[in-house]
Structure formats: C-alpha cells, structure tokens
C-alpha cells in the first residue's frame, strides 16, 4: 500500500488514539509515538503498529500516533482508517483488516 497524501483518523479523547500518516517515499517507516501510557505499553503499541503496517504491506510512511490509552484493536482500526485515507483508497481488504 502506497501512502500518497496525509491521512488522519481517530480522536484525542480518553481511550482513543489519533493517528496521522504521511508519505515518506523510499525512506522506510518512521514512527512517532506519544502516549499517556508509553512507559507501560509503549513497546506493545509499537509492536501492534509495526505488524499491522506489514500486514497491509506499507513500506514507506511517517506514522504519528497520539495515544490516549486505546486498546490494541482500537489502534489497529484507527491505523487502518488513516492508512486507507492516506493511500486514497476505499477498496478495503476486510480479511486483512
């Protein structure tokens, strides 16, 4: 999946996460994480994001995560929405996401 523009999803409300993806052509994945529970779950959040990016075959993107204590499934859902918006696509692969 190729990110062609900036995509955003989610909110900054408690138990949610706001995710912004930007194009980063040819320069790989860059993750900026900010979380109110970074000390406890920072590593886990990165794992979830990394593996989800692989699932959707995203090779180049700047992913900015602003987490307010979201569950893993919420993070995946918000990330999927942001990525599809950033890729300007609506042909969702429901089996993968």
């Amino acid at each position: 999946m190729k990110i062609v523009k900036t995509g955003i999803a989610g909110t900054l409300e408690s138990s949610d996460v706001m995710i912004t993806v930007r194009s980063n052509s040819g320069k790989g994945i860059e993750i900026h994480l900010q979380s109110i529970v970074e000390k406890q779950f920072g590593k886990q959040i990165r794992l979830v994001v990394d593996s989800f990016l692989k699932t959707l075959s995203v090779d180049d993107a700047v992913v900015q995560i602003n987490d307010r204590g979201a569950l893993d499934c919420t993070i995946e859902a918000r990330l999927a929405a942001a990525l599809y918006r950033g890729a300007d696509r609506t042909d969702y692969d429901w089996e993968k996401i």
């Binding site: 900036t6 909110t11 409300e13 706001m18 912004t20 900010q34 109110i36 900015q64 602003n66």
Partner: protein
C-alpha cells in the same frame, strides 16, 4: 465529579453578537482576544454553559481557551480533535499554532511539536514532527545543481504582489554582487495576487539570471499576517517578536543549511511596517553571522517603483504607466483575462 453532563459542540462561521460575547468572555478569562482574521470558531458547551473555544485561520489554529472550572476534563483534546479534523476536511494538513511557552507540554501531548521558541514569550508549534527538516531538505535539493558555485551566497525574501522592475533591479543587483542568490517568494496567500501567480511571474522575470535559485517561502518564512496578535497586547512587541521568530528560524536553521551569509532588502521609504522590519533585520542578523545590506530602491519619475504603485495604477487602468515599471511577464499577465479578474478584486477592495 458529576459525570452526567451534556456536551455540545458547534462550528460557527459568522458568529452573531451573542456568540461573540460568549467566545470573547472565554478568551478574556485566559487573557486572550478574538482575532479578526478567523474563518471558523468551535464552541463547546457543557450543560449550555460555554466551556471551551478554538478557531482556525488558514492553517493556523488560534484563540484556544478552556474555562477555568472545566479544566482537567480534556476539553483541549476535544477542541484539537475537531479543529484538526476540520482543517483536514479543508485540505490543510500542515498545521501550526502559536502559544505561550507555558502551554508547550499541553500541546506536545496533543500531537504538536515545537518549531521555535522565544523564551518567556511565544512558541511556534506544528503538527508534523519533521516539517521544518523536510522543508530544509527540499531547499537543499533545489540548490543541488548550483553546488559547484563557490563563494558568497546571498538571499532575498520577496512577496512581489506583483513583481515590478523595482524588485527586478534589487534582485539583479544582489545577484551581480554575489556568487549565488537564493530568492524566497513568500507563499502565504493573503495578497491580491495569488501565490501561484506571484511565483510564476517572478520565475519568468528572473529566468535570465544564471546564478539565482528560486524557492517557495513555505510556512517557515513567516509573514506578519500569519503572526498572531491576539495574545500579545503591546503592538510594538508584536513586531519585535514576529521578527525574532521569523529571523530566528531563518538565521539558525535555513541559512546555515544553504550556506547563506548575507541577506539583502530594498530600502523602504514608504511603508512603516517594512522599514521597521528592515531595522530589526539589521539588529538580529549580523550577530548571528549573517551580513545585512540595504539596497536603494529603483525610482522612476520621482517615485519609487513599488508593487503598491502598480496596484494603484491598475485601479486607474493606466496600462501605459504600468508598462514602464514592470517586466514583460507581469505586463502580459495584467493585460490578460486573469489580470482583469485581479483588477476587479482591487476595485472592489477600494470601495
């Protein structure tokens, strides 16, 4: 705490007097005032009481305030979510805000990153973690094919609304007195001539200058129209802070990346704001290793050649006089259909 409250949110485009007073009183509580260039304002109410507000103006978020008794309920999070989403809907994805340095932590937690701070006074933040770095990379790339040119690298920042022989004289002179000239065209779209047009005309008018590299100003060459006045009361201080911020970014980040050691400007006998800015450049730039030089403006028929003179002549439709003071690129544009549209806008603005 009572959790059974009702929260309502509303975006207001043209606030009526009642709404203005609700918004203003929220802002005043936080020693802010309602800026006059606001496009839309978000008002959050809790049980019908105005609780928080924030506004957008171009790609800048401003006038953000939360009522004291409603603090610690993450209303700033609510505000930012909706303001950011609104901006994205409008197609603005690179967002900025100016705030007091005390608020740095709050906005950092909500996805904004510091760009430049003037201690105790103002901090500029953006939502892109590497916005300025990306811009600097782009500037370097644009300059790449001139990397063989050694020696003095000078710079000029212009608005060119539209480009005149006066600008051209300044640019040619600066280019002839340096080995490479970096020319930045202010990209802020708050002039009569849209940025695309201003940039295209400058490019056409300067094509013959071989040691010139043209750049778009981007958001990091901050125009005084973007700079907020709403949280700084003293108008003299606004000018100073704006200059410190804009020139701070220029001299500490942009100039070193491109090897620029000089900045040139035309002298300014007419506009007090610009002449003040020239004075600030003279104070701020040399101590940071950038030589500042003023070049006397081109005159014709006893008057300096300026874009404002061209705009005045346009309203009078005096194309004969215009022809004498603008390059052919500008003249051809002004006499085209697109030019007519600009004249219409100018005439309406005059009324």
């Amino acid at each position: 705490m009572d959790n059974n409250y009702q929260l309502t949110k509303e975006f207001i485009k043209r606030p009526d007097t009642g709404e203005i007073s609700e918004i203003s009183s929220l802002l005043e509580e936080n020693s802010l005032t309602f800026d006059d260039d606001i496009e839309e304002t978000l008002l959050i109410k809790i049980d019908s009481i105005p609780a928080a507000t924030g506004s957008i103006s171009g790609n800048v978020l401003k006038c953000i305030a939360v009522k004291n008794e409603f603090k610690n309920r993450n209303l700033t999070g609510h505000l930012l979510t909706d303001l950011v989403n609104r901006e994205y809907q409008k197609g603005n994805t690179d967002l900025f805000l100016f705030t007091k340095p005390d608020n740095r932590t709050i906005f950092s937690q909500l996805g904004f990153f510091p760009v430049y701070e003037i201690k105790d006074n103002v901090i500029l933040m953006e939502n892109n973690p590497s916005g300025l770095d990306t811009y600097i990379e782009k500037l370097k790339k644009e300059s790449e094919k001139y990397s063989g040119i050694k020696g003095k690298r000078s710079s000029i920042v212009v608005n060119c609304n539209p480009v005149t022989n006066g600008h051209l004289y300044l640019i040619e002179k600066a280019a002839s007195e340096s080995d490479l000239l970096h020319l930045f065209v202010v990209s802020e779209d708050r002039s009569v001539f849209p940025f695309e047009t201003r940039y295209r005309l400058v490019r056409e008018a300067t094509e013959h200058i071989k040691n010139l590299v043209l750049h778009t100003g981007s958001y990091y060459i901050i125009s005084n129209s973007t700079f907020p006045s709403y949280f700084i009361k003293d108008s003299k201080k606004i000018v100073t802070l704006h200059a410190q911020l804009d020139l701070g970014i220029f001299s500490e980040r942009i100039a070193p990346a491109l090897g620029i050691t000089e900045r040139v400007a035309g002298d300014e006998p007419l506009c007090p704001v610009t002449s003040n800015y020239n004075r600030m450049m003279n104070e701020i730039l040399p101590p940071r290793g950038i030589n500042f030089r003023i070049i006397k403006r081109l005159e014709s028929e006893g008057d300096v050649v300026s874009a404002s003179r061209v705009r005045k002549l346009l309203i009078e439709r005096d194309f004969k006089s215009i022809r004498r003071i603008v390059p052919s690129a500008t003249y051809n544009f002004l006499t085209s259909e697109e030019g007519e549209k600009i004249i219409d806008i100018l005439k309406k603005g005059k009324k």
